[in-house]
Subunit: 339 residues, 2 copies
């Protein structure tokens, strides 16, 4: 198996842009062509008991995913994400080999206990276990070491460093990587999930391809970077960079054709990508939705106003972000300014 | 003097977006605030005898630039660009110390002779000499070595590696850097000018900050990356990365306020930034305007059509790109498809 692996998460993390409303045809076409393009892992969506039946990558059961997977999977491994907030152990069904191979468990720092319990159940049901602790940089190195030791006891298949808000420098990734590399069993894969709010995702990815380790590594990406805030690492960029520096492996033409067929139409409805507003959220460690939610309703907000506005958000709310709260705080901000 | 220097080229290279129609107020405000933000070099526009008088950074004389420069320049050094195609020696006037300090000469590979002649005159008139050979990667390493030796004889202040079309990997920059570092006098600065068509500019810049050399280095950037194709390296990104890794030097708040006041209004009129179409021009080494010109008139062109279309452009026309030619070839392409 190759040391460096790409995982495309278009259908899962890209869903934040189109509310996971991929048509059945699109899901099947994207999966088929990403297999043929040589992708190593595909994350096909969320498993969510409250999810949908058809034309959605919020799948209401693991079995439903079967319908979208082709018989010939080549070497591609299929995963779906379970969010501890919305997925509970009682919805977990036995691994059959006909649907996904593994489950990625995603959780915040305050959800570690629930995540570890779900992880045990995932293993017991025969799935490969992928652990995705969000906002990794929120853990001190000591806290992270403790978490990693607890995860390692469960014989996970992979643990990822997750830069949820897009402000981790390559130097930060290296720091957390050393903890994982020291503490995880030698067969455990290390993954990387990044965002582009400060245009750092591709830099991190290129740096990872120079890491000295005997482990397998997985880099997450999505087509044209579709995803929240400024989006994810772009599959076309990292796949092409891999081809240019490590030898031809991925079919860039198939990737570009998919972008043209399925992603550009979404982009034209609702664009993502780097902007100074998102840079500011990264710079001061705010959830990128502070920019997204505010500009959706108030596109007239200037860069300088946005800088001033963020200062009015209390520290404990910086990484929590609901739309109503953002708009309320904006009205408060305007009120104070105008008095 | 600091080893690593930032040069902002918003007023010069950003002008491709707004036809250099910066208002006099904007020019003065941008210059004033970039000085205060700590920028090391500013390229304020083109000197072009066919240029304008007022509200433009196509300055029709060197003397005219004086009007925009403040008395207190702090440590900032002012440059303007002379394109061998539009600027001739007879328009050159003596350095007085009241206008720009240096002239950047920009030229294609087929213009080396004229560039070297202009360079001699620039030195003779008392200016600092900055040499900017476009599409550096078009020179073989041997050709490049010869060029560099010829430039070195003129006692230049700086020579830049120029990734005009945005497809040089960091590995490519390192290769050309070694030639410069070996062949240039030890006082000569080495510069870097990159574009974002494959989202590589920031990666290159971060890599440069790790080069082992005793020379001074200059990295070009522009506010919000304003520039042709996917744009330039972003000043806010590289200035902030410098601050985070090498110590606090640049005032990011002033840079962001400038973006809000002067660059966002231009962006809202005509956006730049990464797109799959520009990625494709980079991938196959075409001028990015093949995407720009075509999509301006035919926004409906799909990614797959664009890929097919580019194959119809003869090799010798890949880096030459006039709008009329692009549109003619597109109509030809459509015709052939429909017959």
């Amino acid at each position: 198996m190759d040391k460096y692996n790409l995982l495309d998460c278009t259908l899962r993390d890209g869903g934040y842009i189109n509310k996971w409303a991929y048509s059945d045809e699109a899901i099947i076409d994207i999966i088929r062509n990403l297999i043929d393009a040589g992708l190593d892992f595909l994350e096909v969506g969320y498993i969510n008991p409250e999810g949908n039946v058809g034309n959605s990558t919020q799948f209401n059961s693991i079995e439903r995913i079967e319908e979208y997977l082709p018989k010939d999977r080549k070497n591609c491994i299929f995963l779906a994400m379970a969010d501890v907030q919305q997925f509970s152990i009682k919805s977990l069904t036995q691994h059959t080999g006909r649907s996904i191979e593994g489950i990625r468990i995603v959780f915040y720092k305050y959800q570690v206990k629930e995540a570890l319990e779900l992880a045990k159940a995932v293993k017991a049901m025969g799935y490969r276990l992928f652990m995705q602790p969000m906002v990794t940089i929120d853990y001190s190195i000591d806290e992270y070491a403790k978490l990693v030791q607890n995860i390692d006891k469960l014989n996970p298949d992979a643990v990822s460093i997750v830069d949820s808000f897009g402000y981790m420098l390559k130097e930060d990734f290296r720091r957390y990587f050393r903890v994982l590399d020291n503490l995880l069993g030698e067969e455990v894969i290390i993954g990387f999930h990044s965002h582009n709010n400060m245009n750092l995702a591709f830099i991190t990815a290129q740096d990872i391809l120079e890491y000295k380790t005997s482990r397998r590594l997985i880099i997450d990406s999505s087509l044209y970077g579709i995803g929240r805030g400024a989006g994810n690492l772009n599959t076309e960029l990292i796949a092409n960079y891999y081809n240019m520096t490590l030898g031809n492996k991925y079919n860039i033409k198939l990737i570009l054709d998919l972008i043209g067929r399925h992603i550009m139409p979404i982009y034209k409805q609702r664009a993502w990508g780097y902007s100074p507003y998102l840079f500011i959220t990264g710079l001061y460690h705010y959830h990128p939705n502070y920019a997204g939610y505010l500009l959706e309703e108030h596109s007239e907000v200037t860069v300088s106003q946005f800088l001033e506005f963020l200062k009015t958000i209390p520290e404990e709310m910086k990484t929590k972000c609901r739309k109503q709260y953002v708009l309320e705080k904006w009205n408060e901000f305007l009120g104070e300014k105008h008095i």
